[in-house]
């Protein structure tokens, strides 16, 4: 990706704190990233690493309280989304930024027909008439590969299978041709054969519509297949960010390296034992003052306990937050 090129989305120094009865949880700490038009950014990390929270905060989907965005900027084409009015945010949501949620079973409203739910953003954001919205809905359902689209508009979500429902979700997110599509684990609840269908579909759509996609997942295989750039999150921070081949070919952060080793493959040699990352992910009760990965890290040094490493560029669009890799050769 060319440096200094146009960015459709830019996030700077985002910090999110949850206020709970048991104290504060610092879910997102100083997260910055950007997205070029037409780019696919893969976001990986374990549950609790703050990847969903980060993305949901971009379009104000976090309930507040308990969540509070303490610091940072979210620039969508230069406009700071954290400062806009609720009315403007409603225009952005579904209009300029589409969102596909993880669970297709629960994110469609069971009491409205699929046709109604598809037409809603079209009528609201694009000001279409009922008739025009219906025609466009049929187009959208055909686009995502649902056969007999016109008839299926009258069906309710429970009449669709899991894969079909996820397609409907994608159709709704695409309805207003957003500049950015955020897909939060869109295929995790689906089977591999259906997942392959959805991946193929989204790649076609991206080629046709030229939108940027943020793809959140914990499946490294999916990332390898579709992403241009990968962002690895751990403990509410971005620990590594690089083009996809760099991340898989030359991972710098020990967490990324460990993560790549824990995943068995269906091809290649089979290890006698799986590599494991010992221990548990951290609970973030305060802003990090030391490396959050140090308890599980094999290369832990004294510096790791004193100082939280910041994300630093090591060349080739590759950023890493680790004390060890600074001294080591950035191969």
């Amino acid at each position: 990706m060319p440096e200094g090129g146009r960015r459709v989305l830019e996030v700077l120094g985002l910090e999110i704190v949850f206020h709970t009865r048991d104290g504060e949880i610092h879910a997102v700490n100083d997260v910055s990233f950007s997205l070029a038009p037409g780019e696919v950014l893969g976001v990986v990390g374990e549950s609790g690493s703050g990847k969903s929270v980060t993305m949901m905060s971009l379009i104000g989907l976090l309930p507040s309280p308990p969540a509070r965005v303490c610091r940072g900027q979210v620039l969508l084409d230069g406009e700071n989304l954290l400062m806009v009015s609720p009315a403007r945010m409603r225009q952005v949501r579904g209009g300029e930024v589409g969102f596909v949620f993880q669970d297709p079973m629960t994110s469609l409203n069971p009491v409205f027909t699929v046709g109604y739910q598809l037409a809603e953003p079209l009528r609201r954001h694009m000001g279409m008439t009922k008739r025009a919205a219906r025609a466009r809905s049929i187009e959208l359902l055909e686009l995502v590969g649902i056969p007999d689209a016109a008839a299926r508009l009258r069906d309710y979500p429970h009449q669709f299978s899991g894969g079909m429902r996820q397609r409907v979700m994608i159709a709704i997110a695409l309805a207003c041709e957003p500049k950015v599509l955020i897909a939060d684990e869109p295929t995790t609840a689906l089977d591999v054969t259906i997942q392959a269908q959805i991946l193929e579909l989204l790649q076609d759509l991206r080629a046709q519509l030229g939108m940027a996609i943020i793809w959140i997942t914990h499946d490294l295989g999916v990332i390898a297949g579709i992403a241009d750039r990968v962002m690895v999150m751990y403990g509410g921070q971005v620990v590594e960010q690089a083009p996809v081949r760099e991340v898989f070919g030359n991972p710098q952060h020990p967490y990324t390296r460990a993560l790549l080793k824990t995943v068995p493959s269906v091809t290649g040699a089979r290890a006698a034992r799986l590599e494991v990352i010992e221990g548990q992910p951290p609970i973030l009760t305060s802003a990090p003052s030391a490396c959050s990965f140090r308890d599980r890290c094999a290369d832990r040094a004294a510096q790791c306990d004193r100082e939280n490493p910041v994300l630093r560029a090591i060349g080739g669009g590759h950023d890493v937050a680790c004390h060890q890799s600074y001294g080591g050769c950035p191969a």
């Binding site: 591999v192 392959a196 991946l199 295989g221 390898a224 269906v266 089979r270 494991v276």
Partner: protein, 328 residues
């Protein structure tokens, strides 16, 4: 390899559908429809398939958690297919289960010691001290700190809860354990810990596993032989390497090609990926002929009228497909 510990023959599990004013039976969901396999002592048989293909039902039926519709199940030399539930009580210690969701399968009102010790209360007449010794021993085996014995499940993480579930399954020194998606609810880095634990326990205690999962790469790691299920039937059963290197059934081929490769250098070209069209048909109304004929890329006229027979095409490899009918 030694003799078969578990023998399943033509296992059928149909769930009736009632409808209408008088709740008459109008049909049945054929969740498992004629499944046969053997599991050798000390072996891990992987059972893979998409959701809804009947793999969990199959695992539960093998342990007689259901009253099965037909077929026979022999575990450790005893036929248990049609024994009444009350008579199965004595058999239970040899066969145990690890459940998918460690959140739901542990009673939140019982301490860890009570959960792990419950099978001992039920099946032994040991003293309290004896039981507690055994509970501590089990906690050591699965890598849980003894000091946590009197805490409640909510105080543990997902991986630790799954360890509690495994300790409970081990309490009575079983020979055969059905692991029903034991890692599906866990994070990637924790999955590896639990799989390694299951393998260590197998080596130490000589356990036999039926490992049910939809994660093909994990099954490749843990299983010795793999059975692939589609719509209530096993379509292919083969040793691990043979199945992953050279899948025979078109469904297995599609399933394996759909698994994303976590290495962009080796990621398949889009041409080599077989994308199946459409969805799995309803098990209440399976298609005529071969179950897979509605989505099979290599479908023939014969497939739509005649169901293929599950047969051994080369030693140790079983396939249910007309393509291999002539191979001997």
């Amino acid at each position: 390899m030694s003799a078969a510990l578990v023998q399943v023959r033509d296992l059928k599990m149909h769930f009736p559908i009632y409808a209408g004013l008088f709740r008459r039976q109008v049909g049945s969901v054929k969740a498992v429809d004629g499944v046969s396999f053997d599991i050798m002592a000390g072996e891990t048989l992987g059972l893979v398939g998409e959701s809804g293909c009947g793999k969990s039902t199959c695992g539960r039926a093998v342990l007689r958690l259901y009253d099965i519709t037909g077929g026979s199940i022999t575990i450790d030399g005893r036929e248990i297919g049609h024994v009444p539930q009350s008579a199965l009580m004595g058999m239970r210690p040899t066969m145990q289960m690890v459940f998918q969701d460690p959140q739901a399968s542990l009673n939140p009102r019982m301490t860890v010691a009570a959960i792990i010790g419950e099978p001992l209360d039920e099946h032994t007449d040991w003293s309290k001290a004896q039981k507690l010794d055994r509970i501590y021993e089990l906690m050591d085996q699965v890598g849980l700190n003894r000091q946590f014995a009197h805490r409640y499940p909510h105080a543990f993480s997902g991986g630790q809860r799954q360890r509690i579930g495994i300790a409970r399954a081990l309490a009575l020194k079983p020979k055969f354990i059905v692991c029903d998606e034991p890692i599906a609810a866990l994070d990637v880095s924790i999955q590896a810990q639990v799989v390694n634990l299951l393998e260590t326990l197998q080596d130490e205690l000589g356990l036999t596993y039926l490992f049910i999962s939809h994660d093909l790469s994990m099954v490749r790691h843990i299983a010795d032989r793999v059975a692939v299920m589609y719509l209530g039937q096993v379509v292919e059963l083969a040793p691990r390497e043979a199945l992953y290197h050279n899948p025979l059934h078109p469904y297995t081929q599609a399933l394996l090609s759909a698994v994303p490769e976590p290495d962009p250098a080796r990621a398949q070209t889009p041409q080599s990926r077989i994308i199946l069209r459409g969805d799995v048909p309803s098990p209440a109304d399976p298609p005529k002929g071969c179950n897979f004929c509605t989505r099979c890329p290599q479908v023939m006229a014969r497939c739509k009228t005649e169901a293929p027979i599950f047969r051994e095409v080369t030693p140790g490899r079983f396939v249910a497909c007309h393509l291999y009918e002539t191979v001997n």
